[in-house]
Symmetry: D2
Amino acid sequence: MIVVMNPHVPQPTIDRVMAEIQRMGGTPHLSRGEFRTVIGAVGEEAKIDQAHLLSLDGVEKVFEIMKPYKLASREFHEDDSVVEIGGGSVPVVKVGGKHAVSMAGPCAVENREMLRTIAGHVRNAGATILRGGVYKPRTSPYSFQGHGEPALKWMRECGDELGMPICVEVMDTRQVETMEQYVDCFQIGARNMQNFDLLREVGKTRRAVLLKRGLAATVKDWLLSAEYVLSQGNRNVILCERGIKTFEDSARYSLDLTSIPVVRQWSHLPIIVDPSHCCGKREWVPAMAAAGMAAGAHGTIIEVHYCPSEAMCDGPQALLPETFVGLMEQLRKIAALVGKEFV
Amino acid sequence: MIVVMNPHVPQPTIDRVMAEIQRMGGTPHLSRGEFRTVIGAVGEEAKIDQAHLLSLDGVEKVFEIMKPYKLASREFHEDDSVVEIGGGSVPVVKVGGKHAVSMAGPCAVENREMLRTIAGHVRNAGATILRGGVYKPRTSPYSFQGHGEPALKWMRECGDELGMPICVEVMDTRQVETMEQYVDCFQIGARNMQNFDLLREVGKTRRAVLLKRGLAATVKDWLLSAEYVLSQGNRNVILCERGIKTFEDSARYSLDLTSIPVVRQWSHLPIIVDPSHCCGKREWVPAMAAAGMAAGAHGTIIEVHYCPSEAMCDGPQALLPETFVGLMEQLRKIAALVGKEFV
Amino acid sequence: MIVVMNPHVPQPTIDRVMAEIQRMGGTPHLSRGEFRTVIGAVGEEAKIDQAHLLSLDGVEKVFEIMKPYKLASREFHEDDSVVEIGGGSVPVVKVGGKHAVSMAGPCAVENREMLRTIAGHVRNAGATILRGGVYKPRTSPYSFQGHGEPALKWMRECGDELGMPICVEVMDTRQVETMEQYVDCFQIGARNMQNFDLLREVGKTRRAVLLKRGLAATVKDWLLSAEYVLSQGNRNVILCERGIKTFEDSARYSLDLTSIPVVRQWSHLPIIVDPSHCCGKREWVPAMAAAGMAAGAHGTIIEVHYCPSEAMCDGPQALLPETFVGLMEQLRKIAALVGKEFV
Amino acid sequence: MIVVMNPHVPQPTIDRVMAEIQRMGGTPHLSRGEFRTVIGAVGEEAKIDQAHLLSLDGVEKVFEIMKPYKLASREFHEDDSVVEIGGGSVPVVKVGGKHAVSMAGPCAVENREMLRTIAGHVRNAGATILRGGVYKPRTSPYSFQGHGEPALKWMRECGDELGMPICVEVMDTRQVETMEQYVDCFQIGARNMQNFDLLREVGKTRRAVLLKRGLAATVKDWLLSAEYVLSQGNRNVILCERGIKTFEDSARYSLDLTSIPVVRQWSHLPIIVDPSHCCGKREWVPAMAAAGMAAGAHGTIIEVHYCPSEAMCDGPQALLPETFVGLMEQLRKIAALVGKEFV
């Protein structure tokens, strides 16, 4: 860490900062310029508290030299991680490295019949993981909130029937124990990316975790949230770019595809792209799915509904099954151009 | 709601939209312009699903006419709400209308002694509610996470001793039952503003709820989150502006003080301002506290620490007790200018 | 336009709004709901002043039904525009529809020799338009500001020699007359996207105009800026997505690729992508160029430098010539997948 | 400047960076940690090109130690600057330090009569500078663009009559020469904050310059733009916070009042606040003006119109004269609380 002191600070103030660095286990290195004094804190950065240094008298700013996460960092794990989803009653699907994944399904599981129809469609088009919401995070308390455990059972049955691992959003720590019995992959939604208790709970399971990026999260914040899960012993984390909140109002969120090469440089974790929620309009979804794959994502998660106008939630962005078939064909070709393969 | 159709849509497409409006309980009103057809959906807006309308063929956009929240809205509750915090072992403190509140205390409760010292300082300076974190939402899993239940007891003891109701952040639905026995006011942190299960749980209690604004939340999103609490029967909601995430990087977050007159126009709920977390530097805190009061806030929540350089977390923004004394004097004068009074 | 009135407004207030709509040439349509009165203003929206309606007593909000731009809108020009750049001493290059373009060159023209070397490299790799800055918009007054007119001559010579039309940024209305003699395409930089006098001046010429998106501009703002140029009679406008300002700080700006399908739906104008300036790091540029093409862009504008560490400005994001060769190969394949062709 | 190298870089790569620092006039200081090598570049930072260092092989990041502006910085000018506006035919008005200023007037000068009426109102309420637009930056080419030079003459006459210096927006370098004959203070609008040629031109005059903050500008960007003016020899720069572009959509822009204490810490230049344009609704303007003064601003610039519903532009945010009278009374009291005085 690098500590920049205010201009003209007296020696005792400098000494105090150096002493604090030592107390936290670092080695201070003093460097005096003509205008500013700078103190380097050499040693394991995780031990040195940046906020504490900032609170000391005479400190103007503090820069991190190293990344604040470790298990998520490519520095300590050079090769791409390959996460396995499924096993047991369904085949294992790999995500990461050369392996691209297509997760698809309805936004919310409305009933058993509808789920089966959509699942059949997406399976035929080439999706290998079935997604579907049973607890729905809704901005308004008056909107449909999901069917809960019954829908969870329908998902499991449907996944088993079609040989597809299932991915379902978890919203509350109290749901983890029950859901662990049903799902192959927990989804952490954007609004819960910094629900730290929830991250810890899914970190204690051995299911894969699809961690969506928060609406106000930098890539660094996001990797720190992944670190919460990883630090509990669960190494099966997949990141999912789904858009950030910006001033642009044509789409609901701005898909920040630059995060894909950034994450791939900073971390070994697989990253996929969700083009459905950010667009909010189905016409724009295929272009953004293609763009995400071209940017180097390890797959996509896409909402599909056979008749979006009857969907109980988030209809406007759901693709029609026939559009999804064509899109999967194109995604396979793009994946091939960037050295990946959908299984 | 107003539905704008794409140019040149055929009649059956228009008919379908009108039928759907009727099916949801609204009355459709057709209006044809030279270039566009517009359909008004008259009736209770909460029943008419905007997303569903958007998913229909031929629909270009849908505008809301009414606010999507009801219990939080000034339309249905003209006068300012006055929320009461405390009672029982401590006096009742009122927030809202003419009543301004000063909540203050350490960021995290580090130990009993430190808590008492700080609580004494802020009480003497004029704070009436004691705040202190016992479960800490930390971006990094390697940072101090709070002392949990023991710290909760210290807070209760200290509040009782000084006659100050206490306000403590709740982070997980599983903490609600225990915390309800200790606290006078639940704080919902910015990162949990859309943790809908947590909102519902505190909504089932009768404790006051201090709802901080999410980092990516519009005023509308925020009032919808308040609606979650209110709709469970708990009407004691206080809003807290604490900054949003923007591109500006001098301060940690951008305090959006315009939200104060906006909230006061749209809602009857009290709103206070937290100048500590957004600034990230104690030098800027007094100016922002004063600005918040001048903008019409019903009070402030401020971090105070007698020796910020020993604070275990978030030291850089904590005010020294002597600065807090001077600030409170100024805030009282500003409050008087805008028709409010700190008790 | 749709005018929503405040609750409980008296009749004379409503009458006044209706009279104003008529005065501006519209036909008012009154619709009373249970809670709100809504007035539709039918007629040519461009004539009806939204701000004026908003300033009237009793008006809560005003929604636009139609797009506020006309010449830029696909509603009035269904087919993709194809813009021609060059002619005279250099061949014509087409952009738009099926025609993808590759613009490339150094950020700043440092000297004649360096320009020729880089131009040769990019020409061989398949670029058809030479770009290079001669007046440089620099955040700091102490940074290199460009060589001005001499560099303009080197660009012209170099373009003529290699048969490449040239694209150069214009920063000031006083430069337009001189530059018109040299350049085939004016570039309007992000910081000048709402320099309305400059837009009007290039609109009076018949050179192509590459209009970069402003850092804080919505797609609507951007198309309105295009409208400024178009309304002067110059129909040769090409849009260029180059990133917007968001809270994310890993890259300099966030490339908002969703703008590509949005622009293509709302407008007939060609749109290309600039992945160099937003990334700020050359490692991320190829991924974002590929993503832009996959999203449907009509080409790319990329900075190339043979030895970025000697570049006088913006070195970190310039691609090495050999990387650019490989990238162009990949972009050609992606273009083919989305129905476009680099000439 | 501090250069952080990638992990495991070989010695020659490090040597190259050190040599480049020396070539640019700095002294390199090498520091090797367990995981990273860090090179300090001691010397005048303005001479050392950050972008150039970033473009070198093996460089991961580069931190600035010093502020990139000099003339605008408080480091080199400890006391508050006091800018004088006017003189000659009108009295001098001081802004900065203890001197608060109230600039007010119509958004656009529509005609001589209206100007006189409004000017009289604001003068009586206590405004000392008359503001009014004669060239209007309008998002749409179809909106009213201002009356130009005739309106400039009306402004001058009206200012002389009432003894008020005048402040008028300049939009184009070609307007500077003419306007210099009429105005006491040039206003640079938000959209032109990085129109560097325009900054240089007004920097060559000796008129005061009111520099509005750009919609996407950090405080650092803004002070660098001030540096452009200052570096031409014109030291009469006043900053104006007027809101930044964020995701919040209740108001048009988010007034970033934290910029006030930040600017006052980093710079000696006076800073005032414009609450009119960001709000977009007159009801919210007084609260934000009061908040700006409480945050430490050196004054306000506010739009006033006697009958906003007939204003030709930007009506919704113009205050009525009677509201402005009451607001000025309150602002005087708040100014007194923060050690300032409206003359």
